[in-house]
């Protein structure tokens, strides 16, 4: 049985993370930006699992578990916020939400 080096998984996770970052910067829709965060989280999870496997330890998996839980919580609250936003101003584009600026 041949062995897939850890570095492959790590590289893949790096690529996914980078794409997540790009999405975060590039997209305008609040919801999509949320999704890009989820994407980054997933990339990190992949790295976690890969390391867990590489070191034959379960801690990595446990951390993935926690990350997923946190992601769920984040999605719940975040999406509720998004709904409020959409109700208060009729746009989901972050570029329209520049009211912080004086």
């Amino acid at each position: 049985m041949s062995v897939i080096p850890v570095s492959y998984y790590l590289a893949l996770s790096a690529v996914l993370f980078g794409l997540g970052v790009i999405a975060f910067v590039f997209k305008r829709n609040v919801i999509t930006i949320f999704m890009s965060i989820e994407l980054m989280l997933n990339a990190v999870n992949l790295a976690f699992v890969a390391f867990a496997r590489a070191h034959n330890q379960l801690d990595g998996l446990v951390f993935v578990f926690f990350v997923i839980v946190v992601a769920a919580a984040e999605a719940a609250v975040g999406l509720a916020l998004v709904i409020m936003l959409a109700q208060n101003r009729q746009s989901l584009s972050v570029e329209r939400m520049n009211h912080l600026k004086l």
């Binding site: 999405a23 910067v25 997209k27 829709n29 590489a54 379960l58 801690d59 993935v64 509720a80 570029e95």
Partner: protein, 167 residues
């Protein structure tokens, strides 16, 4: 080219394509679907890495619940094609290129790295059984576990409070 390698490259490619689609798609729903694709591909990779439990959880929670929630919200607000405004030149001329730099560089660096103490991902090592995982979770990580449960509870309440229309 053995089966694991094949699976790895196929799923990896699927994941990357999905991620790119997340960016490229103009319909939020399409982005969501692409993200689901990424997640499923990652689940397969987890299986490949001998973490079936995590894979299942990934599908159930991430793809099956969180993303459904996303799609649900998108439908609820029926968010159409996003408008391509460009008010932020920084994001355009600095952010995106930097993102690319980060991605490529990190990927390249990691590809050539051989993390200390890592022994490849030999399929010979047994898959982590859910029993071991749960033992780990409820013995060593009991407190964090409880803490996350509290976190979830708080999140639920917060979501309720936010979504609730005040009469």
């Amino acid at each position: 080219m053995t089966v694991p390698f094949l699976l790895f490259f196929v799923c990896g490619a699927l994941a990357v394509v999905g991620a790119i689609l997340v960016i490229a798609a103009r319909e939020p729903v399409h982005s969501a679907l692409a993200l689901v694709l990424v997640m499923v591909a990652l689940a397969v990779l987890y299986l490949l890495l001998g973490a079936p439990f995590i894979a299942a959880v990934q599908i159930i929670v991430y793809a099956g619940a969180i993303m459904v929630l996303f799609v649900f919200v998108i439908m609820l607000l029926n968010a159409g094609v996003e408008e391509r405004t460009d008010f932020s030149s920084i994001a355009k001329y600095v952010g995106v290129p930097l993102g690319f730099v980060l991605m490529l560089w990190a990927a390249h660096w990691l590809w050539h790295s051989q993390p200390a103490g890592a022994i490849g991902t030999a399929a010979t090592t047994p898959a982590a059984s859910s029993r071991e995982l749960s033992v780990e979770l409820f013995r060593q990580y009991l407190f964090p576990f409880e803490a996350t449960s509290i976190l979830i509870l708080i999140a639920i309440l917060g979501a309720l409070v936010l979504a609730k229309r005040e009469e």
